[in-house]
């Protein structure tokens, strides 16, 4: 806990957080209530982002799902890895049977012409920050926060 407070203070000192934002985070830590925990986890992203970015010097696609109870999903995939994997999609397209491919072509979708790598490159170059930020209420899990971002 103290470590987290220290990090917040350091970030205020470095100008990465405003004093008001820092106070809000410190208050959330001290309150320790489930509601503030969700906020805290979501708000703590800059800290983690900073750490990951400085370690690998790369951009990441991050998926984060936080539920009020136990649900917690954290996926970090480097964009360069997605770009490499996108080449596999081109090969995967050749597994689509010819008749199905012809069917899709009639509908105007040319699977072989899909530039998945280009799409990933475009996301890498132009997208920064949150792509998806959704909050839903689940009868079992309670409040669930879903975030997808490129950082």
């Amino acid at each position: 806990m103290n470590n987290e407070k220290m990090k917040i203070l350091e970030m205020i000192q470095e100008g990465k957080l405003t004093a008001a934002e820092g106070m809000e985070l410190l208050k959330a830590i001290e309150d320790g209530s489930p509601d503030s925990e969700v906020t805290q986890i979501a708000e703590f992203e800059p800290l983690k982002k900073e750490r990951i970015a400085s370690t690998y010097g790369d951009r990441f696609l991050r998926v984060r799902v936080v539920g009020e109870k136990t649900l917690r999903v954290n996926v970090n995939v480097p964009l360069s890895l997605i770009r490499s994997a996108s080449k596999l999609i081109v090969y995967a397209m050749s597994f689509v049977p010819a008749d199905k491919r012809a069917e899709l072509e009639q509908k105007g979708l040319d699977l072989q012409g899909l530039d998945v790598e280009g799409l990933v490159r475009m996301v890498e170059e132009t997208v920064d920050g949150k792509i998806v930020d959704v909050e839903v209420a689940d009868p079992q899990e309670g409040r669930i926060k879903v975030e997808v971002c490129v950082e």
């Binding site: 990951i52 370690t55 690998y56 790369d58 109870k69 136990t70 649900l71 917690r72 999903v73 954290n74 996926v75 970090n76 995939v77 480097p78 360069s80 890895l81 490499s84 994997a85 080449k87 596999l88 090969y91 050749s94 597994f95 049977p97 010819a98």
Partner: protein, 102 residues
């Protein structure tokens, strides 16, 4: 480097699968020559007369195993840059799954 898959079930059962990335890379390397031979053989097989078989063979010929292996090797090479990264960390009431690079 190891790709570590950790699964923890509700009843305190815990499984850890360490996958050495270099072993996968070596395996791919070993498969490359075999894949090229298969491609060469497939190229020289004449098209069958029956339409269904002909279409099937054309579909098989279109797949490039050596290309798939080359891309997979590139992916493995990229993975090596991310030592220490937690790629997936999922926790629910019943199970916890973590995939990390160590």
């Amino acid at each position: 480097m190891l790709l570590i898959v950790r699964i923890k079930l509700k009843g305190r059962r815990r499984f850890t699968f360490p996958v050495p990335v270099w072993v996968v890379d070596e395996f791919m390397e070993a498969l490359t020559d075999l894949a090229r031979i298969v491609e060469l053989v497939l190229k020289n097989i004449p098209d069958p007369r029956e339409e269904k078989a002909r279409n099937h063979l054309r579909w098989v010929k279109r797949i490039s195993p050596s290309g798939i292996i080359a891309v997979s090797q590139g992916l493995i090479k990229d993975l090596n840059r991310y030592k220490g990264l937690d790629v997936v960390d999922v926790e629910t009431e019943d199970v916890q799954v973590k995939i990390s690079l160590k």
